[in-house]
């Protein structure tokens, strides 16, 4: 059965179409569907126990040709030619190398041009394509949904399951439309859209759903911007986020190493064109966001739903009607060492982290560089810039971005997850405060006792210049904010 012949008459959403096209077996009587997986991404943290499981059960890896691995979470971002100092980090990396060798999996190791954060590597190789299913033992797999793929994070047991069977037993997800209409003002980015979405629906608001981002503001975004948005779908509790493929998607993909070619390309595009949600298809829930009024955003608390516009003040927990939210806000302010009523722009930071699978692609670096160009970082603030992949690093250097970054007084590092979660030496010291372009502001996420404010690359840059949380609108020299991350191409 081809994808076309499965097309039903009933109007369907993008998510339903992709799901239906991957049904190996329809579940009956409460059993899950069996879904085929097109692409399995692997990294060193969540794979060792899965490979171990295969070995223990004497099972082969079914489709090495649909599997690809990279090293990212533990890799150092300095002196990458030296052996990894931390013993456990080294063990995980070495274990991945041995496992990939044994099971015939393609691996991009530290030092390789395609090495980098797994969610940056898949798209840059052209492996992430519209209409496919993508899984990885990592919750930010939702990133790949930017291409109109059904992409979601899985646990290690599921990693083993995909390795052994190339399928997953799953119950269909519910669907939620997130419609963002209007035009972003200069200085407002994809990151601000998604932070506003999460603040609006809450960290549990997307639970059980696939979010489909729609509307004129989403259509106007580049692929890098769409990836930023889909990346953080998990922070709203959703399994996946998706954007219907269009000319922007095709333009990004065309010519990439693993994109289809010739007749295959034409066939693929013809199919991809059928994926958009049908007129009249019903979503289980709908949310709308007005892009025209959005401002640069920042989180003040310890979950990504605790956010506000930069022009606001630290909220007063007593203003939350819900008792749980009130208690959570109280605890968050204590951990973050913030006082209710303080204007957010008066909050001084110790560090700025520009990186992670949310914001480490070339456009993010360009946006960051456009603001800091010719400036000096604030005294006493440590600024770390970590590209998402070795290829992004090389691209940035070809454009001279590394020079702008080092002239500014920032550190220009090698690719990896780095301070997004501090599994490598890039960590905050206890009590340190960081404006970070990553996706999680949980307690201790960037280092034990560290305090994280999630921001866009533009806000990170403005903050690095002024030393306090700042909007790009606060900078005199940046009256021309035409190069904004994830804005219209």
């Amino acid at each position: 059965m081809t994808s076309e012949s499965r097309t039903a008459a009933r109007p369907r959403t993008l998510a339903e179409k992709v799901w239906d096209a991957h049904l190996v077996k329809k579940g009956e009587d409460g059993t899950p569907d069996l879904i085929y997986i097109d692409l399995h991404l692997v990294h060193e943290v969540t794979s060792p126990q899965a490979f171990d499981g295969l070995r223990l059960a004497g099972r082969p890896l079914r489709r090495p040709d649909l599997t690809i691995a990279t090293e990212d979470h533990n890799t150092p971002t300095l002196a990458i030619d030296k052996p990894i100092a931390d013993l456990t980090s080294r063990t995980q990396i070495e274990t991945l190398r041995r496992n990939c060798e044994e099971f015939g999996v393609r691996l991009h190791s530290l030092g390789d041009i395609e090495q980098g954060i797994v969610h940056v590597v898949g798209p840059q190789l052209g492996l992430t394509q519209p209409g496919i299913t993508v899984v990885c033992g990592d919750s930010h797999t939702s990133t790949h949904g930017a291409f109109g793929a059904m992409a979601f994070g899985i646990g290690t047991s599921e990693v083993e399951h995909v390795m052994a069977t190339q399928t997953l037993p799953l119950k269909p997800f519910k669907t939620m439309a997130i419609t963002v209409e209007g035009t972003l003002r200069p200085g407002v980015t994809a990151k601000d859209i998604i932070l506003a979405v999460i603040t609006k629906i809450g960290t549990g608001g997307g639970q059980g759903y696939v979010l489909e981002y729609r509307g004129s503001a989403i259509r106007a975004l580049s692929m890098d911007g769409r990836m930023t948005i889909c990346n953080m779908s998990i922070e709203a509790g959703a399994r996946a986020g998706m954007v219907a493929p269009d000319a922007t998607t095709y333009e990004y993909l065309k010519g990439r190493a693993h994109a289809p070619e010739g007749q295959d390309w034409d066939d693929a595009v013809a199919y991809w064109d059928t994926l958009a949600t049908d007129e009249g298809a019903a979503f289980d829930a709908e949310v709308t966001i007005d892009a025209d009024t959005l401002e640069p955003f920042v989180t003040w608390g310890t979950n990504p739903g605790q956010g506000a516009s930069l022009s606001d003040s630290v909220p007063n927990p007593n203003d939350f009607a819900d008792a749980n939210e009130r208690a959570a806000a109280e605890r968050a302010l204590e951990y973050m060492d913030l006082t209710a009523g303080t204007p957010l722009k008066e909050v001084a930071v110790d560090a700025v982290f520009m990186g992670s699978c949310t914001n480490s692609r070339i456009e993010d670096l360009r946006a960051f560089a456009s603001i800091i160009q010719g400036q000096k970082k604030a005294d006493g603030v440590r600024v770390m810039v970590v590209p998402g992949s070795a290829r992004v690093r090389i691209e940035a250097e070809a454009e001279g971005l590394d020079k702008i970054i080092t002239d500014f007084g920032a550190e220009w590092r090698f690719a990896g997850c780095s301070m997004c979660l501090g599994m490598n030496p890039d960590q905050l010291a206890p009590g340190e405060r960081c404006a970070s372009t990553s996706n999680r502001n949980f307690e201790g996420r960037q280092g034990k006792g560290g305090r994280t404010h999630l921001v866009s690359p533009l806000v990170a840059a403005a903050t690095a210049i002024r030393g306090t949380l700042s909007s790009p609108w606060d900078l005199e020299h940046s009256s021309d904010l035409t190069v904004t991350s994830g804005e219209a191409k």
């Binding site: 059965m1 081809t2 994808s3 190996v24 409460g30 069996l34 085929y36 097109d38 692409l39 943290v45 969540t46 126990q49 171990d52 099972r59 090495p64 040709d65 599997t67 533990n74 456990t88 063990t91 995980q92 393609r106 052209g126 492996l127 394509q129 496919i132 033992g137 919750s139 994070g153 899985i154 646990g155 290690t156 047991s157 599921e158 083993e160 052994a164 069977t165 190339q166 399928t167 037993p169 119950k171 960290t203 549990g204 639970q207 509790g237 399994r239 693993h258 295959d264 066939d267 693929a268 199919y271 979950n303 749980n324 208690a327 501090g422 599994m423 999680r440 949980f442 201790g444 996420r445």
Partner: protein, 198 residues
């Protein structure tokens, strides 16, 4: 996997909501490459505090955890489930679970059972009135009982069936191997392949 029918053991009250997997097991422990031995890592940050509930003598050997809403949100790390299992937990009761966490639990024989917020409050009160009393969780009847208090919990039928039968997921799927091969035979040539390396 062992068959799961009923569990009787000490229940511990975790009076917190939004317990994300970073709190259940901090990232630093994810570096291990084994599937067992994570008991020391469970709630590592909180366990530095001698007053933390799991440090109290009356809750030693606890097998049932009663937690606030949104337990196991955030990172997909399955280590969170292993750590709970290694520590000795067979059941977590909470009003809501992170999706991935709940999925992971069923696969490792950890029952993630949903009850209402009021029921959580009632169980907390009952446990704290008599710390160390045993609770019985009956998966067949879908009930949790402590003293005179009984609550019914929700768990989806499929997970429950698999837990009751002690069935391994992969083995179950491989019964449909012929269907998988049939599906693969129709896979379009333009769909991505990682090999050969271009």
């Amino acid at each position: 996997m062992e068959k799961f029918t009923t569990v009787t053991g000490v229940a511990a009250p975790l009076r917190r909501s939004n317990v994300d997997t970073d709190q259940i097991i901090p990232a630093v422990f994810l570096k291990r490459v084994t599937k067992t031995g994570f008991e020391d890592a469970l709630f590592h940050g909180w366990r530095q505090d001698p007053e933390f509930v799991l440090n109290k003598p009356e809750f030693q050997g606890a097998r049932i955890l009663v937690a606030g809403a949104d337990f196991g949100t955030g990172s997909s790390r399955e280590h969170a489930v292993w750590a709970l299992r290694d520590f000795g937990f067979d059941v977590v009761l909470s009003p809501r679970f992170g999706d991935i966490f709940r999925g992971n639990s069923g696969k490792q024989g950890l029952l993630a059972a949903a009850i209402t917020e009021d029921e959580v409050e009632a169980l907390w009160a009952a446990i704290e009135a008599n710390p160390g009393t045993e609770m019985t969780v009956d998966l067949v009847a879908r009930t949790a009982t402590i003293g005179d208090l009984q609550v019914s919990f929700e768990v989806d039928d499929y997970t429950r069936w698999r837990l009751l039968e002690g069935l391994d997921d992969i083995g179950l799927t491989l019964r449909d191997e012929a269907l998988i091969s049939e599906f693969e035979a129709t896979r379009e040539s333009w769909r991505p392949q990682t090999l050969p390396v271009k």
